[in-house]
């Protein structure tokens, strides 16, 4: 003994295990296999369904819950919200180009400053009747932002004058704003203008409502007259308030132009409640007044605003809405049929017209069918002229865009029970307002919703397939088929499916698939994919692969991804053709990965390919399996995570070979080599470290000691490449690395020393590297040093706690009784110990420093026997801990006790106080 002051504590591992092990009792039932559990789970789910509110499931319940006798203001909330989102969508649907050229620029938009002076001087009603003084007739250009900001200014002006009790100015400005909607010269701009103007109208309506309500509830001197209940009657309103209300209607009635007069009356429509008990009666007159607006777009949007304003009334019929639809239909039919219209007979213009009118049809249809009792549906159809004598009459042509939105909103039961009639109706309504095939399409979707009887579906499908077979283009065909494919699959109509696929494949190959058609085709194929359970079923479908081959681009990739995810749902993929097919798909996906865009999709591709590689199973043909891995490495070089998977899989394969094939050294060696070669190409060094370690373990298990040594060397040198500055910062990363190093130390216990090298070559290498890297934080370093000390202490034992197997002797056998070996261990551990005590002092955080000191102290006390040097190290550490932590800290107390016991010191020497 050269240095008697330091000595490793001898351990008897088996005795220690015996004393520490918990008594084991055999359990009757596996804790995770409780048979009653699934039943209760189902119960819980069912129960939960009842009160679970699915936000995506529409607002049906809401509407039912809204009682009709609610007051205007409290009921106004949900429709307002709906309206807000509707108008936002409307603006998005018709985006405005930056520059708006408006031929007749109203002075309200141009002359912003003058307005105030003028309005305050003269207040005669006659002034309102003045014909608009248009600045000049030339086309003026104004940026869209200017226009909008001017409207916002106007809104503020109206509000400001109102607050200043100058309500006449507010009204006059509002009239000017409403007049803006008379100009439909820039069609594309109209929806946005509509949203902006009606916003102002709504504001004015609210202001007037509030004012009259205030008059009805409070006398001029502020005393309360009465509190109007939400469902007040006209008789509850005092005559003063009625007078004011009447005045408002008079003032608005004096507006010369029809359009602003209607808009303003609609804005204050709820105020009729102060005068009449049946305010909704006015709707019928207003809807007739709207007929006076000849411009189809202005007329349709006026209807739209009316539908919106009527929602604010506590109760209203839907009769006026029906008139709306009928009037819009008449106007549309007129505009679509006339060829001598001033816009010229350009179909593009008509298309634009229809698309502009469409939102109001959509909204009005929604209003009609919202909460409509089923009994009344047939009345509605009668009123719309679509039904006579209990039969939907197909002979009356309906404008197809109107029909489309009707079909969208019609209750599903009605669709289902009248499917054939509706089909006939679609057939008859073939005008250029809307593509007929879109109506066939919506019928398909609606029918799938209902689950209609098979015979009806059969006859509908027969008819539809017959109709669409006439279509020239693939696009229209696909759009319709996409809607019906669910019905076809649901009813297992194989021959029909076959026909459809044949047509698609034929058309796709004859004319090619255009960009526009790809989404429909994609959706169709995805529906097929989700219908069939496994890939093999899919391949039995005729034409499927032809169609797939006709696809390209992102749609094809999406379909491929669906195929992959479907194929990898099974436990194993064994069929070589399938594997080959999936491999090719994966390769395409891999090659098409856009590393710059859509990160989500890319990571999903990576995940899917990994899963696929995992699931491939060649069974006993291990060479083929390894070959497959090699192919994968070649094919999917861009996927980092796949390389990890490949290393795992090849290691797995090696273990399998060890287990089953018994001694297959060359194959195992190939696997190990594959892993060893693959690992360095992984970009993250910490993952490399883990994989090298894993491979080293496998190699060691396979008896390839020298391979294992090399791999361990590589693992340790991975520490070199880890750079904390490269995003290696999170606590989990640090923890992970430390635990990897600990695992390495645990593994090193089994590794026999290499005769050509120092016995402590690997541990000392590890130590040198860890102490030389500046990036390593004191905490990490402390933990690694402690691990090395524990490793050295273990190596010093006469009996190692574990061995690889009998064939590879451990160091306990190799160096049995070799004092120079022990000497080497001691001197290394002395070095480590010194560094350990020093490095702890460098930890900046006080609490962390205390805890680290205690950790190290525990490690030292269990590794060494008592000696002065060890004692003094422990005392230093405990003192450090004491200075950093509270005296009552449990860890501190326990450590002191442990150290006292282990080192047999008198209580006073370590534990001061």
């Amino acid at each position: 003994m050269v240095d008697a002051s330091m000595e490793f504590r001898p351990r008897n591992y088996s005795a220690e295990r015996q004393s520490h092990v918990l008594p084991r009792v055999r359990a009757d039932v596996h804790p995770f296999s409780d048979p009653s559990l699934p039943v209760t789970q189902v119960d819980v789910v069912d129960h939960g369904n009842e009160d679970f509110f699915d936000p995506l499931r529409g607002t049906n319940d809401d509407e039912k819950a809204t009682p009709s006798d609610h007051g205007v203001m409290c009921e106004a909330d949900p429709p307002t919200k709906e309206w807000t989102s509707f108008s936002r969508l409307l603006k998005q649907r018709f985006p405005v180009s930056k520059m708006v050229s408006i031929s007749l620029m109203p002075d309200v938009i141009i002359r912003s400053g003058k307005l105030h002076e003028k309005s305050s001087t003269s207040m005669h009603l006659e002034e309102l009747d003045d014909p608009q003084k248009f600045a000049d007739e030339g086309v003026r250009l104004i940026t869209w932002q200017e226009y909008v900001s001017r409207l916002h200014e106007l809104k503020d002006d109206i509000n400001r004058s109102w607050l200043a009790d100058d309500r006449i100015t507010s009204l006059k400005l509002s009239i000017k704003v409403a007049k803006l909607l008379m100009d439909t010269s820039v069609l594309q701009f109209y929806p946005t203008l509509f949203v902006l103007v009606t916003d102002i109208m709504d504001m004015l309506g609210d202001l007037v409502w509030q004012r009259i309500k205030q008059k009805a509830e409070f006398a001029e001197d502020g005393t309360l007259i009465c509190n109007l209940p939400d469902n007040f009657k006209a008789s509850d309103v005092c005559s003063e308030a009625k007078e004011t209300c009447n005045n408002w209607f008079c003032k608005i009635g004096a507006v010369r132009e029809l359009l602003p007069r209607i808009y303003l009356e609609l804005a204050i429509l709820p105020c009729w409640r102060f005068l009449l008990d049946q305010p909704a009666d006015n709707l019928q007159r207003l809807v007739m007044m709207i007929r006076g607006l000849a411009d189809p777009v202005a007329c349709a949007y006026c209807h739209l605003y009316m539908a919106h304003c009527a929602q604010k009334l506590p109760w209203h019929d839907i009769g006026y809405l029906i008139t709306c639809v009928n009037d819009i239909r008449v106007i549309l039919m007129l505009n679509l049929s006339t060829n001598q219209s001033t816009h010229g007979s350009v179909t593009g213009n008509k298309r634009l017209l229809v698309s502009l009118v469409e939102p109001s049809i959509e909204y009005i249809m929604k209003c009609i069918f919202k909460g409509l009792p089923e009994m009344q549906v047939s009345d509605v159809l009668v009123e719309l002229g679509l039904r006579k004598n209990q039969q939907i009459v197909g002979s009356v042509p309906c404008v197809s865009v109107v029909l489309h939105h009707l079909l969208k909103e019609l209750p599903i039961e009605v669709v289902s029970s009248n499917a054939l009639e509706i089909l006939h109706l679609i057939e008859c309504s073939n005008d250029n307002s809307f593509d007929q095939h879109m109506n066939y399409r919506i019928l398909g979707f609606r029918l799938y919703e209902t689950g209609s009887p098979v015979d009806i579906i059969n006859s509908v499908l027969d008819k539809v397939i017959q109709v669409i077979a006439q279509y020239d283009g693939l696009d229209e065909y696909l759009k319709v088929v996409e809607a019906y494919i669910d019905l076809v699959l649901q009813n297992q109509m194989e021959s029909l499916l076959n026909t459809i696929l044949e047509v698609i494949s034929e058309r796709a190959w004859n004319k090619g698939v255009t960009e526009d058609e790809l989404p429909s085709l994609q959706s169709l194929l995805v529906k097929l994919l989700s219908h069939f359970k496994c890939l093999e079923d899919l391949f039995t479908l005729n034409h499927f692969s032809e169609i797939l081959d006709a696809m390209y681009g992102n749609s094809r990739n999406a379909v491929f991804m669906h195929i992959l995810s479907m194929a990898t749902r099974t436990d194993h993929i064994r069929d070589p053709t399938t594997i080959q097919f999936l491999f090719e798909i994966s390769q395409t996906l891999h090659d098409n990965m856009e590393f710059m865009h859509v990160k989500d999709d890319d990571s999903q591709v990576a995940r899917l390919i990994c899963r696929f590689v995992h699931k491939v199973d060649y069974g006993a043909e291990m060479e083929r399996q390894l070959e497959f891995l090699v192919d994968c490495r070649g094919a999917f070089g861009r996927l980092n995570e796949l390389k990890e998977t490949l290393v795992h899989l090849s290691n797995c394969l090696a273990i399998q070979a060890l287990k089953y094939a018994k001694k297959h050294p060359s194959f195992i060696k190939t696997c190990i080599t594959f892993s060893e070669v693959t690992t360095p190409s992984i970009s993250t060094p910490s993952r490399q470290l883990d994989l090298f370690l894993e491979t080293a373990e496998v190699a060691f298990l396979g008896g390839l000691v020298s391979h294992s040594d090399g791999l361990l060397d590589s693992a340790i040198s991975c520490l070199q490449s880890i750079d904390i500055r490269n995003g290696f910062r999170t606590p989990t990363d640090v923890e992970g690395l430390v635990s990897s190093v600990r695992k390495l130390c645990g593994f090193l216990v089994m590794i026999p020393g290499n005769s050509s090298l120092q016995a402590t070559y690997l541990p000392s290498n590890l130590f040198t590297l860890s102490s030389s890297y500046s990036w390593m934080e004191p905490k990490m370093r402390t933990q690694i040093f402690s691990a090395i000390i524990l490793l050295l202490a273990t190596l010093s034992q006469n009996n190692l706690p574990y061995h690889a197997n009998a064939e590879i002797p451990g160091n306990d056998k190799l160096y049995y009784g070799d004092s120079s070996y022990k000497q080497e261990l001691v001197s290394l551990s002395k070095l480590v110990l010194d560094n350990l005590v020093d490095v702890i002092q460098k930890e900046p955080s006080q609490v962390a420093r205390g805890t680290l000191a205690l950790e190290a102290c525990n490690c030292i006390a269990s590794a060494f026997t008592s000696s002065n040097e060890i004692l003094s190290a422990c005392v230093t550490l405990i003192e450090t801990a004491k200075s950093c932590l509270s005296v009552r800290d449990k860890y501190l107390q326990a450590t002191i006790q442990f150290v006292d016991k282990q080192l047999q010191t008198s209580g006073g020497s370590v534990c001061v106080g």
Partner: protein
């Protein structure tokens, strides 16, 4: 130092049998003495003749002597003092004394040549040294309920049709040859509190329609010596169709009667006030663009019209 009048009703509408009530608000920084506070009520029909139809006589007469309806002064307070600050003096005044029957209390009306106006004036006399404090305010008179027609007005509708052949003025040749037909009905006897109602249908028109408007007209006649001078002027225009509307769709006629500018139809001896409603159809024409600012009542080549008498009454 100021004086204000505040009537008991914010709409300032009173009926002849009702007392005119309100208060006089005097604001002064120091107390003032006065020789009495008086309130005077004055109602009169003011007549004037202007425009062409008067001719030479117009220069002679110009403004005719007004017809007095009521003129009365009441002393609210005898001479005394008004303290500093704000002082409110209530007053009440009978408009029509049952025994005196000077003239009918016509309803307030503001026309072009005839105006029927009721004024209330407060006067605080302060002797010769100081200017007296006074202020005047208009109030509105409506017919007594007792004098009103009993029961609802019978819905009297007049059916009209307008074609190229009903027009008494020259039309555009293409309008004359192409033809048009607009039919409808409109109420010709109407309560002042109800809107003029009716409906209109464009049955045919070869030329696109620009606009259809309803003109509300007043016909004021004044007896001047032996002659009756009549002038028709426009009160209000209400558009009911903007652009070339669909054929055979019924459009409503709905015109709210403006207050003060209308009153019950009066056929008095020295003057009369009557109303008319005109339906004017403007057709799209290049000519109309060049002459934008013209009296809408002037018959033009591109206009077709139909004028109907309108009797206005006050109902309960």
């Amino acid at each position: 130092m100021s004086v204000e009048l505040k009537l008991s009703r914010s709409n300032r509408i009173y009926r002849p049998s009702e007392p005119l009530e309100g208060k006089i608000i005097v604001k002064t920084s120091s107390s003032i003495s006065h020789y009495g506070i008086r309130v005077a009520v004055k109602g009169s029909v003011n007549l004037q003749v202007r425009g062409g139809s008067g001719g030479v006589i117009e220069s002679l007469y110009g403004v005719l002597k007004p017809i007095h309806i009521v003129k009365r002064t009441v002393e609210i307070k005898p001479s005394g003092k008004i303290g500093s600050g704000t002082t409110e003096v209530p007053f009440s005044l009978i408009l029509r004394k049952p025994d005196e029957n000077l003239e009918r209390f016509y309803e307030t009306f503001h026309g072009a040549n005839i105006s029927i106006q009721y004024l209330v004036t407060v006067d605080i006399a302060r002797g010769y040294l100081h200017k007296s404090l006074s202020t005047t305010m208009e109030f509105i008179v409506e017919t007594d309920r007792a004098d009103l027609l009993q029961g609802p007005l019978p819905p009297e509708m007049v059916i009209f049709y307008i074609t190229q052949d009903t027009q008494r003025h020259p039309l555009l040749p293409e309008l004359k040859s192409g033809g048009f037909r607009v039919t409808g009905k409109v109420s010709t006897q109407r309560s002042l509190s109800d809107p003029i109602s009716g409906e209109l249908t464009v049955e045919a028109s070869a030329i696109p329609i620009q606009s259809i408007d309803i003109h509300l007209l007043r016909v004021e006649s004044i007896l001047m010596g032996e002659k009756i001078v009549t002038e028709t002027s426009l009160i209000q225009t209400t558009q009911i169709a903007d652009g070339d509307v669909c054929r055979n769709l019924t459009l409503p006629i709905y015109v709210i009667l403006p207050r003060l500018l209308t009153c019950p139809t009066i056929l008095a001896g020295p003057f009369s006030i009557e109303f008319k409603v005109a339906i004017v159809i403007s057709f799209q024409s290049e000519l109309s663009k060049s002459q934008k600012k013209s009296d809408p009542r002037t018959p033009r080549l591109w206009l077709a019209m139909e004028t109907l008498p309108l009797e206005l009454v006050r109902t309960k």
